[in-house]
Amino acid sequence: MSTKVFKKGSSFRSLPWIGPASLLIFIFVLWPVVELFLVSFREISISGLIKGWAGFENYRALLDNDDLGGTLKRTAIWLVVVVALTMALSLPLAQLMNANFRGRRFLRYSVIVPWAASLVITATSWKWLLDPYYGLVTRILVDLRIVEESFDVLGDPRSAFVALLAVGITVSLPFTSYVLLAGLQSIPNEIKEASLVDGAGAWKGYWAITFPLLRPAFLVAAVINSVYVFNSFPIIWVMTRGGPAYETDTTTTFAYKVAFRDQDIGQSASLAVGNFFVILIFILLFLKLSKWKELDQR
């Protein structure tokens, strides 16, 4: 596009067009960021009033919190396991969704369901499915003679965390596999066929030709998924409330409990500031990967 309809306008002229959107982002996205940082250095009463500056007191309280260590460890496991398995599984899944067979539409629509459905509803159904008395999963396991008798999956921190990981992966797969599917569809058929005709074998051809072409989509999906997974709240909250005690908390649910249950807004804010920097790393990665400036000028 060589010609632009309108000449390069002054900043003032752009304001009626981009002003309202910018204003909303400033007020409801950026102001909370600033407020979060301020609060983390404030001494706050239980009723929410500011008593004064606290220096690094809130951060010290956070580091002294006995449940922080376990939470950080679990957050790392949560992030790495969910993202790694999601990405590993979405490669074959995207391939399957792209293949030509009867029932492909059923597969594609089924994969969309956990993505479209509210996470609260999905998590609620899993909570019921895993119930030791009324749930279907333990019944199926007993009927298949995998376990001898029903047990409380969500009552034990270990099995509860494994269950959370599994649900986390199933709700992450739709997005990543649809991104990879879009990537696959943008690869010309001749290239895919050429990789097979050369006698390279399907497996070898995939890693030599298809995957390298898919890599940009793969990386973008992985980074965006990481942010989703790191911020994930409803699944853990609905299924276990981070419990028993704090044993299945990640930093996201932990920060919520500290702020709104223990009423320690300052300490929770200092944790949220930590979370903020983790997300910032992902944002920088995303900006680098997306090459947004070049893409936009096309």
């Binding site: 002054s10 102001w31 029932g103 609260v120 609620t124 749930g135 997306s290």
Partner: protein, 292 residues
């Protein structure tokens, strides 16, 4: 080897290869359908539970299928649970978010798609960064800010937060739609003496309707499914959307799983259908154009 022999062996290899490919496609179909079923398994069990009569719900262990099918559960849920009120709140919040979102995003997206101005890059960067932030990580900031603005436990608070966090997707999708409209069409109108705003309203806007519909549906769904902000800000049941209500009902109505799931299905089935209609554009919007 005689000619007939060669022909025979050729024929043989041909039939075995088509048989192999047919076998392969059957295997592929079965795999695909099985994998698809795994994804909808929780929702299928929700349906079977939603149809169970009261007497089935307390069975230990649960039956796989209902003993009798109570389709009226889908109507009775409005009496048994405060479902109607939750639905009303969800609809108010989602529709308002959708409308305000479109009103704010369309001009911004159009301007960015068509003009080169000094604030363009900063604005795009701002939008992209918003895309990556979720309200979850900023909850304390949002809570304190809305307290200061007296917007705790109000529709307005929830709506404005929802609009703001979804602007990134909207602006990105819409501006990619505007870019597909040939500039020449607008130039013609402009030369004919139409003002900048008239060109936008009479020419570009009607052509961008598919993009506007996509964006509207996406924003609507995002607000419909939003949980954490509403859970934190909407303290009274009169303001809570269904997602919050459901998560709070689990504790109190443990026995009424059939109604909880009947309500849940009413809440998700229209959303899934809407979602499928915009599926084509989702990847492009959510990756800010890095894929597709």
């Amino acid at each position: 080897m005689t000619i007939t022999n060669i022909n025979k062996s050729r024929k043989k290899s041909k039939t075995s290869s088509t048989r192999r490919s047919r076998k392969k496609s059957v295997t592929l179909s079965l795999t695909g359908i099985f994998v698809g079923f795994l994804f909808i398994f929780p929702y299928v069990t929700m349906l079977s539970t939603a149809l169970k009569p009261k007497s089935d719900i307390t069975d230990i262990p649960p039956s796989y299928l209902p003993n009798s099918y109570e389709w009226f559960n889908f109507i009775n849920v409005f009496k048994e649970l405060p479902f109607g009120m939750y639905m009303r709140n969800t609809l108010i919040i989602s529709i308002a978010t959708m409308i305000i979102g479109i009103i704010v995003a369309v001009p911004a997206a159009y301007y960015v798609a068509r003009n080169n101005f000094r604030l363009r890059m900063p604005f795009l960067l701002l939008v992209l960064i918003t895309q990556m932030f979720s309200p979850t990580s900023l909850l304390i900031g949002i809570y304190r800010e809305l307290s200061a603005l007296n917007m705790i436990n109000t529709y307005q608070g929830l709506i404005l937060v929802n609009v703001s966090f979804n602007l990134a997707f909207s602006v990105w999708i819409l501006s990619s739609f505007f870019k597909t409209i040939p500039v020449e069409i607008e130039e013609a109108a402009y030369i004919d003496g139409a003002s900048r705003f008239q060109t936008f309203r009479k020419i570009s806007l009607p052509l961008a309707v598919p993009g506007i519909v996509t964006t509207a549906i996406f924003t609507f769904i995002a607000a419909w499914n939003e949980y954490v902000v509403a859970y934190t800000l909407a303290s009274s049941p009169e303001k809570q959307p269904f997602s919050v209500g459901l998560s709070l009902l689990i504790g109190y109505y443990e026995i009424k799983w059939n109604y909880l799931f009947a309500g849940s299905l009413i809440a998700i089935i229209p959303i899934i259908i809407l979602f499928i209609t915009i599926e084509k554009y989702l990847v492009g919007g959510l990756t800010a154009g890095s894929v597709k």
